[in-house]
Symmetry: C2
Subunit: 560 residues, 2 copies
């Protein structure tokens, strides 16, 4: 029984079909809080369209082509039914969910193919060249940048096919001496960790999408896990890759390091399906950590916390995980991450102590996670604690961190619940150097708030909260979450969102902050690509694309 | 007074004009040792040709072009005299020195230009496009892969110009908050460290060529310093770069990390002058370490040492520097790194102890360096020591490591001394994963020994010694040094060397080990590029080249 059978998953929302956001008893206070923040007297329930109400264009596959696909694969690997086509019609960005919930899907993939081996991918690529077929590689489909969406303008392709790689999920090689493992790229996060952990290892890569994203997707989008401080981003975990392109196989050797010209592995990481299909990858693995500890600190302000964070990130012993919430997000977490019955006597004592330390008003929460062998956790903990306290932090103990760690995979479900009530919510993330971090934070926050408020009639307003979650010696990421009361129609809602998104991207570019720290470019960031990469950088990407995919078959409509 | 004025440096050998290898009293035993190892009864002194004996082709610059260069720069920045042209005619590989010492230089650069600002480089690039001039970026000229040599076949260019960047050496920006510094790329190692250390920082990048190589060269060739375990290779230290290409400026933003498509910084690192001129770079800097310690261990065999090394590299606390010599190199170091009067009573005690531990015969020496703040050195030292002892190592104390550390910049001078006596010596380095390291070591060693011996008449033979000097969780580098009695003529000597080099590169490729861990591709490794990168990888590099340098002006004759 395949847990990832597509019908086990929502076609128009996040995650498992039978799973919804669990407020853990805070629902009664959540909605009044949100209405107050957004200046809404009432919510506007906005249920999604049902699958059978969708008016779907028929698959454009000719009989001949379908027959040919059935022979190249098997009929069971070629799907043209509504559920498959709709499930693969979008990723999981706000804009995607809006389309799905309103049934505004435009052009769908004509078929969804499930290759099971690299040889089948190669055969499909050959067929695609011969028949001029567009191919969209699809892992878990959790892209939030339009990375797996079919092009919405009619292209010159005979058909648009989604290549769902989730059946390519074998461990191909484990090298416990070199601490590397080679997998087929369609393997999901939990599948990969189950295989590794059964053998005493872990990849250490757990993005929030972990349950619903794949190794190939992580590489293609250069994802980051919550413990990226320790394990690195996906491009750092990547040792070697094999990509099948329309022009042939592109592979890199398994090397720990090299000076043989530019490192082409870094063209495969971040390639987002435009250069070819990543069929297998060799990655760094790590012995399972034997010690692990989470803890939390409160700072008087986000700015104070950022300075503390910088010192930790630049210290000799940066923790595996660091996450600093700004005042707004801290307030939100304190209100709604409490499980029922948690407001105990000790919480009241804590509250008094915080007031005494001047922290009751608008504190900023830092969560911090250590893991590894015992020498990386227990002797380091007092050093990090001392550093945080010196920076003005108030230690909260281990509860804070553990509660976050337990609930993080469930948070994405909240978006569906909010959209059901007419609330839009989206995230946006970037990275910059430490010296530019606070000015960038202020600028993006102001931009988001202003852009949202311009879309609304007072007293309605937007809600913006932010955290830093990936730290480096020279800088860190910023992750913004913003919510707003949606307007009425699909078109209005998309226009409303686009205005906000455009304003934010302009601010990022003006500050020379990256368009994305770990989500990717996709279609969503295409208009700003030349700003970040420069005109020549963009031209270089186009030249590479032309070399490996001269007919433009791979994932059209992204980047350029 | 510029310490790097070209006339202060040898035009046909390593380093400062007035500096020669210092045997430190071991000369009397060195030559007999070497003669025995190489099976030579006598040496064949082979002095280099003097500069005034060289028969140099005149500069092919037309009067008009020279006038135009004089206006684009100033006459003092345009050199066509013999010393400048000869100094810039080669890098510093064995094959280069052979050409220089025999006065077999073929085509020289027609002029050497010393731009002082990026704007002047841009003006030269514009002129180059207009007049079809070949441009060779030149930093310190320490390339050992033919990376700065003018093409030896007549090309379609009107002239070949070397761009010596050594006058572009300013600090442009220091960001102590983000721990980054931006320099012009022509700055030499010691100049860069002087600037940083005066402000309490260090780059931490000290390759053996440190005194005679530049920031831009390190980036272009993806160099590695002796403490790369701690600081990373040059591509890891690189935060952002600005490259002037014939097609315009190519720059990357200062970002700690990104997911905005492929990381194009990794095309600039390793670009070896083929894409353009790296004019400035932003790099990671580090607070000066307050603690530092070197120590050494002896293992019963190289294989035992490799296993110990792997455990250190994969441990929670890998040291900043690791260097394991095989039995041959250990023997060599013990014979010739002893300063006079060092064979004291304690050395005799040591010898007895080693014999008792079974280490007297053919031990392998591991040197290990720690640095950082106190918490990174003193609590870690007993952990590393315990690990080494568990692996079979015998602790030698701090003397061993310090002696190596003090003498490493002088070692390259020995090559000139050997060539003066008719002995060829060259190095070759690679990297692979731990599980393939020992088989690769054996294969390359055998290949080198066999290829050398095939060139010689018994009892003459080659001498090969090896060390591991850069370690990663998944693998390490191997660095081979080999010596042989040279034949008589220049042509014979080049043929002799090429046969050895070709055999070694074939073995690397057969083992899927990189052509270079930190020297680069240049012209020397061009024939094997497609083996390592694959035909499609090579085609991608060619496509990038065509995009940024459509007329093929930049550093012709390399890679392809």
């Amino acid at each position: 029984m395949n847990p990832y059978a597509r019908k086990s998953l929502k076609w128009n929302g996040w995650g498992w079909n039978n799973t919804h956001y669990d407020f853990g008893g805070s629902e009664a206070s959540f909605w009044p809080f949100l209405k107050a923040e957004l200046g809404c007297e009432n919510l506007s329930p906005s249920p999604p369209v049902a699958l059978n109400e969708l008016n779907l264009p028929p698959s454009g596959l000719s009989e001949t082509l379908l027959a040919e696909l059935d022979t190249t694969l098997t009929p069971a690997q070629c799907c043209t039914d509504a559920y498959e086509r709709v499930f693969h019609a979008r990723g999981r960005s706000f804009a995607d969910l809006l389309d799905l919930r309103h049934g505004q899907l435009g052009l769908l993939p004509d078929a969804v193919l499930y290759p099971e081996r690299a040889e089948q991918v190669a055969a499909l690529l050959a067929l695609a060249r011969r028949e001029k077929l567009a191919l969209i590689p699809f892992g878990g489909g959790s892209s939030v940048v339009g990375g797996v969406n079919p092009p919405q303008q009619q292209t010159a392709h005979q058909a648009v096919l989604t290549l769902d790689l989730s059946r390519m999920k074998r461990l191909l090689k484990l090298d416990p001496v070199s601490l590397t493992a080679t997998f087929e790229a369609g393997i999901y996060g939990p599948q990969l960790e189950n295989i590794l952990q059964a053998r005493g290892f872990s990849l250490g890569h757990t993005p929030q999408s972990f349950e619903f994203s794949t190794l190939g997707g992580w590489i293609a989008a250069r994802g980051a896990g919550d413990r990226s401080n320790r394990y690195g981003k996906m491009e750092n975990l990547l040792v070697a890759a094999r990509v099948l392109t329309p022009a042939g196989e592109w592979r890199t050797w398994e090397l720990p390091a090299s000076a043989a010209g530019p490192d082409l592995k870094h063209l495969i990481a971040g390639s987002e399906g435009l250069f070819g299909v990543i069929t297998e990858a060799t990655v760094r693995i790590h012995p399972l950590p034997v010690a692990r500890h989470h803890t939390g600190f409160l700072f008087h302000s986000f700015a104070e916390g950022v300075e503390a964070l910088r010192q930790l990130a630049q210290s000799a012993h940066p923790p595996a995980m660091l996450r600093l919430s700004d005042e707004a997000e801290t307030h939100f977490l304190f209100c709604f991450r409490q499980k029922p019955g948690k407001a105990s006597a000790s919480a009241k004592v804590l509250k008094k102590m915080l007031a005494w330390r001047g922290l009751a008003q608008h504190p900023a929460l830092l969560l911090l996670g250590l893991e590894g062998d015992h020498s990386e956790v227990w002797p380091v903990l007092p050093l990090l604690t001392a550093s945080c306290v010196r920076s003005g932090g108030f230690p909260l103990g281990s509860k804070a961190g553990e509660s976050w760690s337990q609930s993080r995979y469930s948070t994405p479900y909240l978006r569906d619940t909010l959209m059901d009530q007419g609330i839009g919510v989206e995230t946006l993330e970037t990275a910059t150097t430490w010296s530019r971090l606070l000015p960038l934070y202020e600028a993006v926050k102001t931009t988001l708030q202003t852009a949202i408020d311009q879309q609304l009639a007072a007293p309605q307003r937007g809600f913006v909260m932010t955290h830093v979650s990936h730290c480096y010696p020279e800088g860190a990421s910023l992750y913004f979450t913003f919510a707003w009361p949606m307007s009425q129609t699909w078109a209005e809602r998309q226009a409303q969102y686009q205005a906000i998104k455009n304003a934010a991207c302009e601010t990022l570019a003006a500050h020379e902050a990256t368009l994305s720290h770990h989500h990717g470019l996709g279609a969503a960031h295409a208009p700003w690509l030349a700003r970040e990469k420069g005109p020549l950088g963009k031209a270089v990407l186009q030249a590479i694309k032309a070399e490996v995919d001269p007919e433009g078959l791979m994932n059209p409509g992204k980047w350029f």
